[in-house]
């Protein structure tokens, strides 16, 4: 792999940019791999990357039905934060956030990680108490966050209206080291590094069946034929239910469409990420100048990658109250992704009833921030059969009543 560097840019500039090589290979599938990962989203690719990097397992295929990064990875609003309430969540999200800090160097690929700070607004007394509690929990977990008052909020976000008629801003939970990243680049960077380690990324290839023998994995059937493997890691987000059905069990997951929208590009007006959970909206400004706005999730199972129209209205209506300037913006485009919701709003990184089949799913509306940490932990689980980062996120937690309840921390879609 040719490394990217300032020198390489200069060299290519001097010869009409004709020397750039493809970032990853597009091979035909082999008949057998040590590990097959289904789903080339950020989480699947990160899993493959750490299988190679941390455990030396490189006879790996990543199978993707569409194009890599074309699922939720390429559809999210890229908020990165780790201010969750429960210890197991703090552990995996904070691991993830810290991996983001060095990701561009680790992958030799600019993922545009921008630790601009994330502010979660408290707009009711209940929310004030909730976020103060989270700030205390974060202090114990070693996650740096702070509860700030309205004056500080106004300093951080000059465009905000503090005394909205219905929901005045009473304060906020501030994580200065949170921020955003470039979602596609995360997928592309991992893909390039995986390909470089000799792994096969097979796109336009859908897994349509899971073959097992005596409760043990044998391989998968795909639209490009049968492929065998010793171990199978399924990382397909919204499609986890259909893959589980192929493997012969059911998951505590429901799939719904979640949508986002962006405005026309405008001059810089807000340099942090703001989330307003009570009114169900969140906002940041992209490098291109668009206001990136996250909306609500549909209230019923579906796979439409579109989302119900009325959620746009609800989201924007709520935001206009807190950010009056939003009323002057034109919407540029809108899109949706299929998110995989669990009852406790925490992910599943787990062994399954089928031996050597592992599932990484349930990240729902908030898994982009977890991409590297999830890959790190899940690779360990697949390689060694157990992982401290994944321990509390097993499927058995439902049977045993050990929920990792993050419905407060993850109350809004992000």
């Amino acid at each position: 792999m040719r490394r990217y560097s300032a020198f390489a840019v200069a060299r290519e500039a001097a010869r009409y940019h004709e020397g750039w090589a493809r970032a990853w290979r597009s091979p035909e599938p082999k008949t057998k791999y040590d590990v097959i990962i289904v789903g080339a989203g950020g989480h699947g690719l990160a899993t493959a990357f750490y299988l190679g990097r941390n455990f030396g397992i490189t006879n790996v295929a990543i199978i993707e039905k569409g194009w890599l990064g074309g699922g939720n990875t390429g559809r999210n609003t890229t908020i990165i934060r780790s201010n969750y309430l429960q210890d197991p969540s703090a552990a995996i999200y904070e691991k993830s956030r810290s991996l983001y800090e060095t990701m561009s160097q680790d992958l030799n690929y600019n993922v545009m990680f921008s630790p601009r700070g994330v502010l979660m607004l408290a707009q009711t007394e209940h929310e004030v108490r909730g976020y103060q509690r989270t700030a205390h929990a974060n202090a114990l977990q070693g996650v740096e966050t702070e509860f700030v008052g309205p004056e500080r909020v106004k300093e951080l976000v000059p465009i905000i209206s503090l005394d909205g008629p219905r929901y005045p801003v009473l304060g906020g939970l501030w994580q200065a080291r949170g921020g955003t990243g470039r979602h596609d680049a995360v997928a592309w960077g991992y893909a390039r590094a995986c390909s470089d380690m000799g792994m096969d990324i097979i796109q336009q290839c859908e897994v349509i069946g899971i073959r097992k023998d005596g409760g043990k994995i044998v391989g998968v059937d795909t639209t490009k034929g049968a492929i065998d493997c010793d171990k199978l890691g399924v990382v397909v987000a919204g499609h986890s239910g259909t893959l589980a059905e192929m493997a012969g069990f059911r998951l505590p997951i429901e799939s719904v469409a979640l949508q986002a929208l962006v405005s026309e590009p405008i001059k810089p007006c807000m340099d942090i990420v703001v989330m307003a959970n009570t009114v169900h909206g969140y906002l940041s400004q992209s490098d291109k100048g668009e206001m990136v706005i996250g909306g609500g999730a549909d209230g019923y199972n579906n796979y439409t990658q579109r989302g119900s129209f009325h959620h746009i209205e609800e989201t924007v209506r709520a935001l206009v109250e807190t950010f009056p300037m939003v009323s002057r913006l034109k919407m540029l485009r809108q899109w949706g992704g299929i998110v995989d919701m669990t009852g406790d709003r925490s992910p599943i990184l787990s062994k399954t009833p089928v031996e050597n089949v592992f599932f990484n799913c349930g990240w729902g509306t908030g898994g982009f921030k977890a991409t590297p940490g999830s890959g790190w932990g899940f690779a360990e689980l697949v390689a060694k059969g157990h992982s401290p980062l994944c321990e509390d996120f097993g499927l058995n937690r439902f049977r045993e009543g050990r929920f990792v309840d993050e419905s407060v921390a993850a109350g809004v879609a992000h």
Partner: protein, 109 residues
């Protein structure tokens, strides 16, 4: 946009008039059942890409609960029917078969 018809009052409306109530025809297991059955009742979800059966409530209308057979991929509605039944009626099953031959959902087909 999802358009549903309430079988209780006959009104047809778009989705904001209704509220989704999740998976239909769930058999409830209580004390005395096996751990397995109780776990599945509480947590194991049908989450198909295709034919699905759900409970809905006509919240901004007559307020009653009813059942809907629907495709989760296209939002096509095959029909709505009474909530006072443990299994989809034959005419609903036939309507699905006409559009999705070979469909299966739990023990129904």
């Amino acid at each position: 946009m999802l358009i549903l018809e309430c079988p209780c009052c006959g009104v047809k409306g778009e989705e904001t008039e209704f509220h989704g109530g999740g998976e239909a025809h769930i058999r409830r297991f209580g004390p005395g059942s096996s751990d397995e059955a109780f776990h599945d009742y509480l947590f194991a979800k049908e989450n198909p890409r295709g034919v699905h059966f759900e409970r809905w409530r006509h919240v901004n209308g007559c307020g009653k609960w009813f059942h809907v057979a629907r495709c989760t991929q296209t939002l096509e509605v095959f029909g709505s029917y009474s909530a006072q039944t443990t299994e989809p009626p034959q005419d609903i099953k036939d309507a699905i078969t006409a559009k999705r031959p070979g469909w299966r959902w739990r023990e129904f087909a």
